[in-house]
Amino acid sequence: MSAKTDVKTFFGFKGITLLCLVILYAPLIVVTLYSFNASKSITVWEGLSFHWYLDVFVGPESAKFKQAALNSFVIAIVAATLSTAIATAAATAIVRGGKFRLRTASLGLISLPLMVPEIVTAVATLIFFNSIGFTRGFLTILVAHTAFCIPFAYLPIQARMQGIEDTYEQAAMDLYATKTQAFRRVLLPLMMPGIVSGFLLAFIVSLDDFIITNFVKGAGVETLPTAIFGSVKQGLKPNIMAISTMLLAVSIMMVTISYFVSKSDNTK
């Protein structure tokens, strides 16, 4: 071995890295395995079965979980779309808007949801909706999600835009394109990988949220996390593991898409 790798390698670091991966994945793998357990009890393994997946779709609680899943996905899609649009506009102003007085303040405002602890945002939003007499329900969840998803959508978009030289747009405008045209035809397509990443990030953050939703949800409006939390309180049931496994698959799918989008972006 050369002296160079010698300096870099530390005994045990590889072991710890593998341990780290085991810790990260063990709980998820165990839950995935047990979701295929035929037994009603979560402690005994009685063989492979898709029974609990069937239960999720046709069992006694299926109506509740279907509605919750629909709510979750609708809220995540709408909130991610709105916050991505807002974040794209904001990033354009911050990165392509020159130096101006409100620039730092705007950045601070946009990253506010990242700095305030989630439980505090939840409490504040509850108090706010209550004091303006806004009835809690589907709409309050949607609005709250849109607001706190903005910085998550913003970060990858800004990072991408900073990597694009403005010479492309300048060139387009030299050829008599208007600013709007330069933005739509030149900048926006170049920014697409950042926008897609931002959208996916916002989507997952919205889908993931429990604390804020729990505070601002109204009568009978559940999202998947709140519905799962309600069920888990009375003990972990195999149907919850089946739902978890399916959500796990959705998350992994999203991250994989995002990974390849950003990778294709690097190879350009």
């Binding site: 300096v7 810790i23 402690t43 405002l109 700095m115 607001a147």
Partner: protein, 308 residues
């Protein structure tokens, strides 16, 4: 999560300078109305009088903060003593979050270092492996942890089967369970910033030290660590701050004895207590603590940048 204040980079271009205010307007309106205004409203609520179970009376009062810091006896007419119970809950939260941070650092640093020293083409896949679990619903990860740690759960079964222990370890509903839960929730936050700074580190420095007969560990401690310190600090903040206000891990993995700030706040709004001004006051205290940490961090960052 913390320190998210994106720098915005250098304002190199002013192509859309004319439209900048219109472009920013939606974010000002949405974040301003639905995040900033609520936080300000919460501050106002913390100075109001509580109504009997839920809601407030619009009368100025310091009683929420008074309840936090002072004990005036059962009938409220004894001389005020300092009440340690809520301070103790904050202290416990700090301690739990701190333990989780140290645990994350012990595992996260070697991991980040190992990944950063892989051949360049393999690094992305390692980072990918580390980040995937973070994108799985936090609730589901916490529930999985609960399932894994049960007295008759897979972890204990496994340890008993390989003969490492005779009787199952009792982990669930202990402080350790909460620490493990927090550690598990935020571990990737520790790995990523450290990874980023180790990756930027110039290993020629270590080689130079080795040429001067410094041992590997001395090189690590004296040369590498100071160079990657910003990444380590960022990682610690990213784990510590969300752990401080965590709700799911203490609620699902700890029993009532492991009350943390998050559960205390939740109880004031969703639970029996129904004391809104008090819940708002606790939230304000938590927010102040977090913003102070972030401010100190930001100031040090700026000083470090000025130096370099």
């Amino acid at each position: 999560m913390a320190g998210g204040a994106a720098s915005g980079g250098s304002a190199a271009s002013d192509t859309y300078a004319k439209a900048r205010h219109w472009l920013l307007l939606p974010s000002w309106v949405v974040v301003g109305i639905f995040v900033l205004a609520p936080v300000l409203m919460m501050m106002v609520y913390s100075f109001l009088t509580k109504e009997f179970r839920g809601g407030v009376i619009w009368e100025f009062s310091l009683s929420a903060y008074d309840q936090f810091f002072f004990d005036r006896g059962l009938f409220g007419d004894e001389p005020a003593k300092i009440d340690w119970t809520y301070i103790a809950i904050f202290w416990r939260s700090i301690w739990q979050a701190g333990a989780a941070t140290i645990l994350s650092l012990l595992i996260g640093f070697p991991t980040a270092y190992f990944i950063a020293t892989r051949p360049e083409k393999n690094r992305a896949i390692w980072v990918f492996l580390i980040t995937i679990p973070y994108w799985v619903n936090l609730l589901i990860r916490t529930v999985s942890m609960k399932f894994l740690l049960r007295d008759q759960g897979p972890l204990n079964d496994f340890l008993v089967n390989i003969g490492l222990i005779d009787t199952p370890l009792h982990i669930i509903n202990t402080n350790l369970a909460v620490q493990l839960g927090l550690f598990y929730s935020y571990l990737p936050f520790m790995v990523l910033p450290i990874y980023a700074s180790v990756e930027r580190y110039n290993f020629a420095l270590s080689e130079a030290a080795a040429d001067l007969y410094a041992t590997k560990w001395v090189t690590l401690r004296r040369i590498l660590l100071p160079a990657v310190k910003p990444g380590v600090i960022a990682g610690c903040i990213l784990v510590f701050v969300p752990s401080l206000g965590a709700f799911l891990a203490p609620d699902l993995l700890g029993g009532a004895k492991n009350f943390m700030i998050g559960s205390l706040i939740e109880e004031q709004f969703k639970g029996n207590a129904g004391n809104w001004p008090f819940g708002a006051a606790i939230s304000m205290i938590l927010l102040t603590m977090v913003l102070t940490i972030l401010l100190i961090y930001a100031r040090q960052q700026r000083q470090a940048e000025d130096l370099s």
